[in-house]
Point group: C2
Chain length 675, copies 2
């Protein structure tokens, strides 16, 4: 055995190969992750490698300068035309001549890792369902008649070891002209989902094609439809955009849309048509922005709550509006984009919908589970995706539980007297001086605090228009920290609190955050009604989390992950002062940002992740809050700020104030319970 030893890094895979073996061939035989679209013909340059020379004591070899064949004309031509980093070789051109250590740089790996944003989220590792393959197809022969598709299949089998293929009529229609235009050399985009036994030909180009393949990761929310246009070869995001969900005209929240479908025959189909049109609009926006040919979009992944899931598919969501909240289908779905009337993408494009967890816990929650992977956590982690409904996951690698809790829209700034959506001009951060009781704040669109010099100028165009969801949480928590609010949620009077900012508001009080009336703006205050709305919402959220903790029989969690666009803006301290979440060390409360969107990107870029989340969802234990008596109990007990029963050792001591002046001030649920 005097065959040279070839060692690949970073994988460490090694083997002996006869002199003259191309590096790409050696890599393939060892199962080293080295990309190639042209199959070793010196066309695509995807197989770039970096040989090392000298002594590699760790590997026990010394690599001579002539360990690889000499730089050749194909490599020189490529370097002249497109450039090649010094020292790099094309794996299909360089052949093994002696012992050698060869590094495969990340960009030459198919299964490369994409840079991740949130620390808690799992990385995206490329393993796309759709990939490009360059092939040389045999010409037709009258003596051995066979179809062009069959000869393409033969070429893919012989040159790429790919089994059975099939194709839509769209592709069959262009197959013959493209094969002839390319002189029997073509590049095909083949799709194989994680459950497919065959490859599907999505598209075909004459000759060698390297113009990219793209996919959409779409987060279909009740209010907003947001999408990333992703490169399916390197995972990069080429454009991101969001538009309002046009279904809002049929009802602001999900249940009013379900009602619309119930009350109006065909109403579900109106909403289906609206959201599909919006998706097509959004695709146009993204492809315009990224200057990408829409027919290069070959896949789309959707995450959404169950009602949006059904409305997207054209299924009447009526069953989701009433117990037992039965889904038409809970499993993941692989469909043709055209069956969903998505006609702005490649006509053969495929879509994938993540599985729903339960009637109230949708594919968006599954995407959060994929991104944050509680099922792979050693710690017991609580993942909360805060929106109109809060999706809550609790677990570790032994067990994961999920539920949904009806927090209502208060956390999104709705049903708040000065509330508004998160938009420029909305107060998003609040601090209240505990001594002077004077607030300062920041608005979306400016980095300045309201007491910083130049704030007025910086916010002149937007003004200060209201409070968004994260702002109201900070405001209420800061009011509690400043002693303006007692544990029961009552706002004190000016006399009780010592600040004229606590003004009378009917029989209760309100705290003035900002008075813009002199400049023609609004008076922005937090009213007793606002406090009650936030109390209802946070009690629901806490009660859901607490219910899952009961099921696992724990009193505390190791970490908390706040997911969702809103979760990204919540300050952990304020969330805990409010009692939204169970007590945890502040450094153990992190934001995962748009975890559902990240999960959608994972499923878009990696088909193994699709299989993984389907298996995970099958293992998740679902808890239905609506039928758990303990949910009501936790809900009531969680009304205080923070709530009455559980200790919060990680919080600073809160002012021991009490403004309880009689039953009148008690609003919301507790008053109703007494009646």
């Amino acid at each position: 055995m005097s065959d040279p030893l070839v060692i690949f890094t970073p994988s460490g895979k090694r083997g002996h190969f006869p002199k003259g073996t191309p590096v790409l061939t050696a890599a393939r035989q060892l199962g080293v992750d080295l990309d190639s679209v042209c199959g070793g013909r010196g066309i695509c340059s995807k197989c770039q490698v970096m040989p090392g020379y000298g002594e590699f004591s760790k590997h026990g070899v010394t690599v001579a300068g002539n360990a690889l064949s000499e730089w050749n004309a194909v490599e020189q031509r490529y370097k002249d035309k497109r450039g090649l980093i010094d020292g790099r070789r094309l794996g299909c051109q360089a052949t093994v001549q002696g012992d050698v250590v060869i590094d495969v740089p990340p960009e030459s790996q198919v299964h490369k890792q994409v840079v991740r944003k949130a620390a808690s989220s799992r990385p995206i590792v490329m393993d796309p369902a759709t990939r490009l393959y360059y092939v040389e197809v045999a010409e037709p022969d009258m003596h051995e008649p066979s179809g062009d598709l069959e000869r393409l299949a033969d070429a893919l089998r012989d040159q790429w070891d790919i089994g059975a293929i099939h194709a839509d009529l769209h592709v069959l229609r262009k197959l013959q002209p493209v094969l002839r235009k390319g002189a029997w050399r073509v590049t095909v985009a083949l799709h194989q989902g994680h459950q497919d036994t065959q490859h599907k030909v999505i598209d075909i180009w004459p000759g060698y094609y390297d113009g990219g393949l793209y996919g959409l990761a779409i987060d279909l929310g009740s209010t907003t439809v947001a999408a990333h246009l992703c490169d399916l070869q390197d995972g990069s995001v080429k454009a991101s955009s969001g538009i309002m969900n046009p279904q809002i005209r049929f009802g602001e929240d999900l249940m009013s849309r379900v009602s619309y479908a119930m009350m109006n025959p065909g109403g579900d189909l109106e909403m289906t048509a609206a959201v599909r049109a919006a998706i097509n609009d959004l695709v146009r926006v993204l492809t315009d922005e990224a200057q990408v040919d829409p027919t290069l979009i070959v896949e789309a992944v959707f995450v959404c709550n169950p009602v949006m899931h059904h409305l997207l598919l054209g299924i009447d969501p009526v069953e989701l509006g009433q117990a037992p909240f039965a889904l038409a289908t809970s499993g993941a779905l692989s469909l043709d984009a055209r069956d969903m009337d998505i006609d702005t993408v490649n006509p053969s494009a495929r879509t994938y919908l993540l599985p729903c967890i339960a009637g109230h816990v949708g594919a968006d929650a599954a995407a959060v589970a994929l991104s944050e992977a509680p099922d792979k956590s050693d710690d017991l982690v609580l993942v909360v995706d805060v929106g109109t409904n809060a999706e809550i996951l609790l677990g570790n690698k032994d067990k994961v539980l999920a539920c949904s809790s009806p927090t209502g829209p208060a956390f999104e700034g709705a049903q708040i007297s000065s509330g508004q959506r998160a938009a420029p001009g909305a107060i998003e951060r609040v601090e209240i001086d505990p001594v002077t009781k004077t607030p300062r704040f920041r608005v979306i669109g400016s980095d300045l605090w309201s007491d910083d010099p130049g704030f007025s100028e910086a916010t002149a165009t937007t003004g200060v228009t209201g409070i968004c969801g994260s702002g109201i949480i900070e405001a209420v928590a800061e009011m509690r920290l400043a002693g303006l609010l007692d544990a029961s949620g009552l706002i004190g009077s000016a006399a009780q609190t010592g600040t004229e900012r606590c003004i009378a508001d009917g029989r209760t009080h309100a705290y003035v955050l900002h008075d813009g009336r002199d400049e023609g703006g609004p008076l922005i205050s937090v009213t007793q009604g606002d406090i009650r709305a936030i109390q209802l919402a946070k009690s629901a959220l806490y009660a859901g989390a607490r219910l899952l903790m009961d099921e696992i029989d724990v009193d505390k969690v190791d970490r908390v992950v706040l997911a969702g666009a809103f979760g990204a803006h919540i300050s952990p301290k304020h969330a805990m002062v409010l009692g939204m979440i169970p007590d945890a060390a502040l450094d153990k409360v992190t934001s995962a940002g748009n975890a559902a969107g990240h999960g959608a990107r994972m499923a878009l870029c990696n088909r193994s992740d699709r299989a993984a989340i389907e298996a995970t969802v099958g293992q998740i234990e679902k808890i239905e809050t609506a039928i758990e008596p303990k949910f009501q109990e936790h809900f009531v007990n969680a009304n205080a700020i923070p709530h009455a029963t559980d200790p919060f050792p990680h919080l600073p001591e809160l002012p021991k104030v009490s403004f309880n002046t009689g039953g009148d001030a008690q609003g919301g649920r507790r008053r109703r319970r007494r009646a």
Copy 2:
């Protein structure tokens, strides 16, 4: 082992079963072919059996009168409501109590055999891809949330042992209301093609549904689109109809349609739209006639030549118009009907296109091969499907060859001076008295011969309008038998033949079959030009057959099967006098009728037959006549009537006349060759 012995006939399957075992259960465990849609719930009555009593010496058992449980209330109720043949029992109700012999009547077998028409054709044995299953589905449970589709899948697995299922959005949309309307009891139509790993839910009905499932066997010809509407449970034909192929307006024959596509950008799509619209029209005709709900049509099978195949699929047929005659795809195709714009059937209906054999030998020839099964024949059989092109198969179980031969339209009555399509008034049978040289004939629409009393009255409405394809063949052959025509194909003059019916026609002669001019009708004659056209056609057909015989290296065949609507009307004797086909004993020349249509029905009713013909087509050796030099040689040698080289010992001796009076009379190809 005192468990009773149960013997099923006609299968002969037997086994011992504990007392109390339902007959249906015993049948299933033994793999006896006993139908059931309701799964043994006493609803569908598909499992009717006929127990025998007394001594069965052949089986070695004596069956006592109480060998089965007593007649029960379910059986009585069924008998009262729907009737039951005396002695019959429901297999799911009657339980085994002692040794018993149980006959499964044909109508209780799933894999029942359908009565066949042509003796040569293979029988249709039911094994449809789409079948009905009645199931009881678990209700949704908030504690164990799962989708309705997933619980339906569970029920199918538990109650029918059926694996993974999937469903179109059409079905998902109706799933929830149907499940609730049926109180969680539903009947589903499941489709599983021979290559499918999953079952597809095609449709769903509340409760027990037995309103039938239907399929279409469509023979898409260049001139006519013909279809059978078939019951997918018993294979019976509920309606048959045909309409003109509207593509005729783009060109009478295939090559002119290919030219149209080449000359007119988008012309192929015009033709695709035309034929798809025609198919939808035809489906409406069939469902109206049979009074069948179109949404109960769940499958369609297509057979057609390669050009029609491509035009149906929306593929430009340009490559089929020029060597090397490359098909876009030659394999069988399973598609959604809606992808072919067939919107008159169930929205989830599936279609199946048989494979094409070669660029000139289409799925219609494959269907003939399926029907006539040369690959299963001990004899060497020649199968000829006569049309504008003749498809020719030759072989036995060792080897099958196929080719296509360009006979042109003469056999269909086109390019014949008095020719017409087969329609009422067309002469279809001809006899010429060899002594008096007087003809008699029959026309389509009447059973009388022209010299029978009452012929004029019987044909008064249609008249005698021309000669159809089978008529011209008989006329030419009879002229040869009567000595009016010599072996070279020359028509003699009145002087040479002794009949005034041989009239001068320019520099050649014509034979008058019928002179209707006194009644305002046409003069119907066979001209020298007609003879030349038939000679060209028959030479092409014979040369194709001869080419295949050369490949197998034989001088004679054991049997000849004439297929096609036209083949059904050709008289074997006349075909042989003409030299259309090689010599064979007359009783070995049979007609298979519409073998392509029969093959389509087989593929419709039996998915194993689909797998079988795909395998067979893969084994068939294709011969391209256009590039075989011997084809030209055979073609020239076959010009004589019958042809010059091969002996026809099975024919009566033909008159040894010769009218060769000089070069002028030689028309067509031979004249051109001399020039």
